[in-house]
Symmetry: C2
Subunit: 334 residues, 2 copies
């Protein structure tokens, strides 16, 4: 794998060094991994005397704004886009994940490079580094420095890369974290001269009081079904209104029902107006929530999927749990 | 530091190899770090043909029972204690942290060794490795293997050590985590051939439904004081009764008020019958909660302290917040 990375990144480095100006996009509705990778990539370009623009259609989330102090992130405009000789797309597997980039590039085709770790990558880019097994795009971008000149990795870039590894792995807890991931995290701490709490507190200790009150209400709804194998939690429009919160404030909530001891799967239902959206999570190899979600017209991955149901809430819960129960039964029989 | 560890652990290794039978104690009210260190140390002794007993006065917590499958942990009894030629005490800084050990040793003195990372260690042991800067006792015990024969570190011992590092660092997020800690975590994953989720899910995904309902009620009480600088949360006896929970179920709750964006300190008050116990936490270098707690007759560390107040709850909150406010004012002036 190390050799494969060296080969891929050497090729990317040679390509990028041809240009005077490069536009670097993070995906729409940005998260810690794409913003971290974007900031570090721009700092790398700058270190190598290549002018860099960091673009995103959307605002940087509140808990990541400090990263934009390391390198400014702007909304793309015609004039800036025209100045770019090439583009780098980070942490997304197809042009449409990058908003106005996908429109612009049709009128004014320019070389585009992608670095990403999502499955099923679009194959029309000029060069792509797509490694599904990587914990994060930030883990990949570390090799951009490693293969060129590791001394160009400064404190800011180290913290940016650490942020993406941290946020895309649930604090280094997911099964995507390899010994190599952990060893890169160690190198980032050493090179950057910081401790993990500096990044973790900025990224995670940023709840609003309203959000905690919403979480309180939602957590009170958790119930277990099917012999305590399925945990269900819900959020209603009324709860959002009572706590002055929005759908975005539900981020991460599904982890709470999923943390109940002994369960195999958890579902968060959100009845926010237009039917009921749901997030399905499995913590058992026996339960494939992708199969489950597909039966309701949704889909995703084995351990994490989503779906929609016309509602109302009570019927939705009953129906979705029953569909899950069938899968639990077929597991018991197999 | 590496040289210092080598020297200390070589000395400990030579001492332990003199004995046929060693009793290994983890501290009373055990946690992931002491149990992980205990299991790994017993496996190390076994690998080196030394008979090992793992002792604890208390039960192993539910979320750590799987570690006791790697090496049996028993309550100390006269007969087993008599069989031991020496004792090793793990993750506690004085004999009284080890329950019945401290009584037994007075009647039947035997060589005792300590490995720990708490401040102010008792200095009467025959040999101690006490490193306050270490993230965890498990990080220290890794060097027992490293200095002797790293090939003796098997999958079980690696998972045991990983558990202690994980639980004592809030999932590798505290400021006690150094590049060295992270690099040891990487080695444990590599040598043990496992991924972090295997340990993290066992250790952290073990909430009872009742505990989540208690957390729901407690989270609903969070309020901000002193220009949103202090977050307060409380738990009452009635809440425990309504949710069929105990004081133990409040473990970790103080992290929720502490996660509110922009605050400097958080307090969890527990009015469970006999006055009001409180946990004070700071996330600002400006606020020393040890000084704060001392004014109410408590104490601890700068960032984490505890205290007791006769109550009732409402007056306690008012008084404790006012004392904290003085400190915030004196900070503003300094």
């Amino acid at each position: 794998m190390a050799f494969q990375y060296a080969y891929m990144f050497n090729e990317l480095i040679q390509k990028l060094k041809q240009y005077d100006t490069v536009g670097v996009f993070s995906h729409i509705r940005p998260d810690g991994d794409c913003i971290g990778a974007q900031v570090a990539t721009c700092l790398w370009l700058q270190e190598n005397d290549i002018r860099a623009f960091a673009f995103n259609d959307d605002d940087v989330p509140l808990n990541l704004k400090w990263l934009a102090d390391y390198y400014p992130i702007r909304q793309p405009d015609e004039k800036s886009l025209q100045k770019c000789d090439a583009f780098v797309l980070l942490d997304g597997n197809s042009p449409k994940r990058f908003g106005s980039y996908s429109d612009y590039i049709q009128d004014d085709p320019k070389p585009t490079y992608m670095v990403d770790h999502h499955p099923d990558p679009y194959d029309g880019f000029d060069f792509s580094i797509s490694v599904e097994e990587a914990s994060s795009t930030c883990e990949l971008i570390f090799h951009l420095f490693l293969q060129n000149d590791i001394s160009q990795l400064n404190e800011d870039a180290a913290k940016a890369l650490y942020t993406g590894i941290l946020t895309d792995t649930g604090s280094l807890q997911y099964d995507s974290v390899t010994p190599e991931t952990m060893s890169i995290a160690s190198e980032l701490l050493r090179i950057g001269g910081f401790r993990p709490n500096e990044v973790a507190e900025r990224v995670f200790s940023n709840k609003s009081l309203n959000q905690l009150h919403l979480l309180s209400k939602a957590m009170g709804t958790i119930e277990l079904y099917e012999d305590n194998q399925i945990a269900v939690m819900y959020v209603t429009k009324e709860m959002l209104e009572e706590t002055n919160t929005t759908n975005d404030d539900c981020e991460g909530f599904v982890g709470y029902p999923l943390s109940v001891t002994g369960i195999k799967a958890a579902i968060l239902f959100k009845a926010l107006g237009d039917g009921v959206k749901m997030s399905l999570r499995s913590k058992s190899n026996d339960v494939n929530v992708n199969k489950w979600a597909r039966k309701i017209g949704g889909g995703g991955h084995k351990k994490a999927s989503g779906a929609w149901h016309p509602g109302p809430l009570e019927e939705t819960i009953k129906e979705v749990v029953e569909i899950g129960a069938e899968q639990l039964v077929s597991v018991d029989k197999s």
